[in-house]
């Protein structure tokens, strides 16, 4: 599924926090979103998920404006923050509920979870803990897996590498690449980890104060040198 952004603007208290005149994300593209804190990465994802209202413009998924229907939700998996989790459920219950709303049976969900077994480790499933009792890193894992286990055509993740141990970061990075390549899932992933993004993304946009200031394709440019130079220059200023 492709994603289109047209004349998108979001303001808070008269201050523009996101301003994207046009952005097309092709089907199967793995788009990395980078930028310093407050650049507008999360706002962009929240707008794409229709969780906040745009002041101007719109985002469409497969030609369907996200603020005008909810059909796109059936093909979109997402995890932005802990607010997406249901703290009083166990991880298994949450995965099954999540599968149910996407039309999957518990057996299908369990089968799907096999792919994420190594990523989840042994501290999450089968421990009888509620999600609210898990560590931040394990909550992050539950959120990511819940978003992915439903085999969405579009996947949106906000800072998926945060709070994860190095091994888990590498595992999820590989899973994301594999899923993107094998299923053609369109992915929007924001992160501060440029190395991970350089490894898996087919395209990276750099946001600064709500504006896209760079649009790079790592497979063409090799690495994300431009992005690294940008952050280095920001640190020196």
């Amino acid at each position: 599924m492709n994603i289109q952004i047209q004349q998108l603007q979001k303001q808070y208290s008269g201050q523009t926090v996101l301003d994207i005149p046009e952005l097309d994300i092709a089907r199967g593209e793995l788009l990395g979103i980078v930028g310093n804190n407050g650049a507008g990465k999360t706002t962009m994802l929240r707008l794409a998920l229709d969780l906040i209202e745009a002041n101007e413009g719109h985002i469409s998924i497969d030609g369907e404006k996200v603020n005008e229907s909810t059909h796109w939700k059936r093909h979109t998996g997402s995890f932005l923050d802990e607010g997406f989790l249901i703290g009083f459920l166990t991880p298994e219950e949450y995965f099954h509920f999540n599968g149910e709303v996407y039309g999957m049976s518990p057996a299908q969900v369990d089968e799907g979870l096999e792919l994420y077994k190594r990523f989840l480790g042994d501290e999450i499933v089968g421990t009888d803990k509620y999600i609210r009792q898990l560590s931040t890193g394990n909550k992050q894992k539950v959120g990511i897996v819940a978003a992915m286990v439903v085999n969405p055509s579009v996947l949106m993740l906000d800072e998926p590498f945060n709070f994860l141990d190095p091994s888990s970061q590498l595992i999820i990075r590989n899973i994301l690449r594999e899923v993107n390549q094998s299923r053609g899932t369109t992915m929007l992933i924001s992160s501060h980890n440029i190395n991970h993004l350089a490894d898996i993304c087919s395209r990276v946009i750099l946001l600064e104060k709500g504006l896209i200031i760079k649009d790079i394709r790592p497979e063409v440019n090799g690495r994300l040198d431009e992005v690294e130079r940008y952050f280095a220059s920001q640190a020196e200023e």
Binding site: Y12, S13, Q15, T43, R46, L49, L51, I52, E53, T70, K73, R74, S78, L80, G83, F84, L85, I86, F88, L89, E93, F97, N98, E100, V101, Y102, Y130, Q133
Partner: protein
């Protein structure tokens, strides 16, 4: 899907912090709830007899059914402080392919389950049984009618608590209408009482219009709530995104900071209260509520009549402290690691906190006393006694119980009073102050001195006030010794 959401509701309740407490704590809480319900029931059962004795010329039924506007106004007033509309519960579902219409209906359904929608029935059930003749009219329909009237109140509050300006305006307009009915009750009492009575009679005589009008109102208001909820789901997220104005140091902060020794702690406590949703709402609502309650009590009751409400008064008198100290050492537990790893003497930390709430409690007592000095001097003495009790023994118990506190609470949650972050032991100890005051009150009334109860509870409080340096020092030592356990327990959770 709706069925699944309902089951989530059940799971949410079943798995709440309350059910994680020990069996004894659960039993005790269940007993307190049962006690309160039985109080309402007993009131409903005994009121006809009491009214008949006091006012033999009036029928008890006329008194109560004629005062429905006042009862409903009181119910609505209480709702503003107690009833939370569970909007936040739907946030985790917003990104999923769950229709917003389903979520809106779920939100409405959840809100109807609030205990505040049912408590009046425990009073009216026996009262109706005692005052309505089943041979000529229907007691059940009378109860249903009362529930519908309460439902209008519920719908008004839902309107006000639903995001969107339109619904809020309509809600406030209806509040003004109800307030007008309350004012009219004092200006033209006979007429309003008669109308109120007619409304109730329409219920018990099964007149269709009697039910159709409130039912239509509820349906209409809930439909508006339903539409507005769908339309304004954005605002649930928008509120999180809004940039809060950074607070500059103002006069109060400067004043607090200038206090020697305790100033920096007071400033921290003040900012803790003002910069979190949960604590801020408690701070802003409790002071006016306490004064309003004092006016109400001062106007209508004598000291003798109020003695049975001592439990309520503990919460009112010194109320801000009672509201916030129940979470003492749990809300700052988010930065307790900071405190524990710095050279901050715990004794001063505990004492600063105590003085802070003592100051607020003192201001509250002063304001309430000023009001009651004009209205009802007996009540002023009782309030003063209970305030001293709250600020002495009450605050001690809260702080003492807080020492064992290892849970951390979400300060950004909106509810101002709940059990989250309160350990079973702390809650049990907290309940002690309610239990102790009852025998004290009884003994006080038996004393052969005027205002015996006020004096006895006041003196009990004063003993703790006078000795506060000693017990705050001990609590500081205990907190210092306990910090490793608390920090370890938190990390294990």
């Amino acid at each position: 899907m709706f069925k699944t959401l309902i089951s989530h509701s059940w799971q949410m309740m079943r798995r709440s912090a309350f059910f994680e407490k020990s069996m004894f704590a659960k039993g005790l809480i269940a007993f307190v709830i049962f006690f309160m319900v039985m109080n309402l029931y007993a009131l409903g059962r005994s009121l006809p007899v009491l009214l008949q004795e006091q006012f033999p010329d009036f029928a008890p039924a006329e008194w109560v059914y004629g005062a429905l506007p006042l009862i409903l106004l009181g119910d609505l007033f209480m709702r503003f402080f107690i009833q939370k509309v569970p909007a936040s519960h739907v946030i985790p579902y917003l990104h999923l392919p769950v229709p917003t219409s389903t979520l809106s209906v779920y939100r409405i359904f959840r809100s109807w389950l609030h205990p505040i929608n049912f408590y009046l029935l425990f009073f009216f059930y026996p009262f109706i049984k005692m005052t309505i003749n089943p041979a000529t009219s229907s007691q059940e329909l009378g109860l249903l009618g009362i529930f519908l009237l309460v439902g209008i109140n519920h719908s008004i509050l839902m309107l006000i608590r639903t995001p969107g300006k339109e619904s809020k305006w309509l809600g406030y307009l209806l509040v003004i209408l109800l307030l007008s009915a309350g004012v009219a009750y004092y200006m033209i009492p006979e007429k309003i009482m008669q109308e109120s009575l007619n409304v109730f009679l329409a219920f018990v005589y099964a007149r269709p219009a009697g039910f159709l009008v409130p039912l239509s109102m509820i349906v209409l208001l809930q439909f508006i709530v339903y539409r507005q909820t769908i339309k304004n789901f954005y605002q649930l997220y928008e509120s999180e995104e809004k940039v809060e104005k950074s607070a500059g140091q103002n006069i109060i902060e400067n004043l607090l900071a200038s206090v020697p020794v305790y100033g920096s702690y007071w400033l921290l406590e003040w900012r803790l209260l003002l910069r979190n949703r949960r604590t801020k709402s408690g701070l802003y609502t409790f002071l006016p509520m306490a004064i309003a309650f004092a006016v109400y009590a001062g106007l209508w009751f004598t000291e003798q009549e109020q003695s049975g409400m001592a439990i309520v008064y503990i919460l009112i008198a010194g109320g801000i402290g009672s509201m916030h100290l129940q979470h003492a050492f749990s809300w700052e537990s988010h930065f307790f690691d900071y405190i524990a790893s710095r050279d901050l003497p715990m004794e001063v930390f505990v004492r600063a906190k105590y003085y802070f709430y003592l100051l607020i409690g003192g201001i509250q007592l002063l304001l309430i006393s000023l009001v009651l000095a004009f209205l009802n001097i007996d009540m002023m003495l009782l309030f003063a006694g209970i305030s001293l009790y709250s600020m002495g023994l009450g605050f001690y118990i809260y702080l003492r119980a807080g020492i064992r506190h290892s849970s951390r609470m979400d300060l950004q949650g909106k509810a101002s009073f709940n059990m989250e972050g309160v350990s079973g032991m702390k809650m049990l100890l907290g309940l002690l102050q309610f239990l102790i005051i009852l025998p004290l009150n009884i003994i006080g009334f038996l004393l052969p001195v005027p205002h015996g109860a006020a004096l006895l509870v006041g003196i009990t409080g004063m003993i703790f006030l006078v000795n506060h340096r000693r017990w705050t020092r001990k609590l500081g030592q205990r907190l210092e010794a306990r910090k490793y356990i608390n920090l370890a327990l938190y990390r294990e959770k």
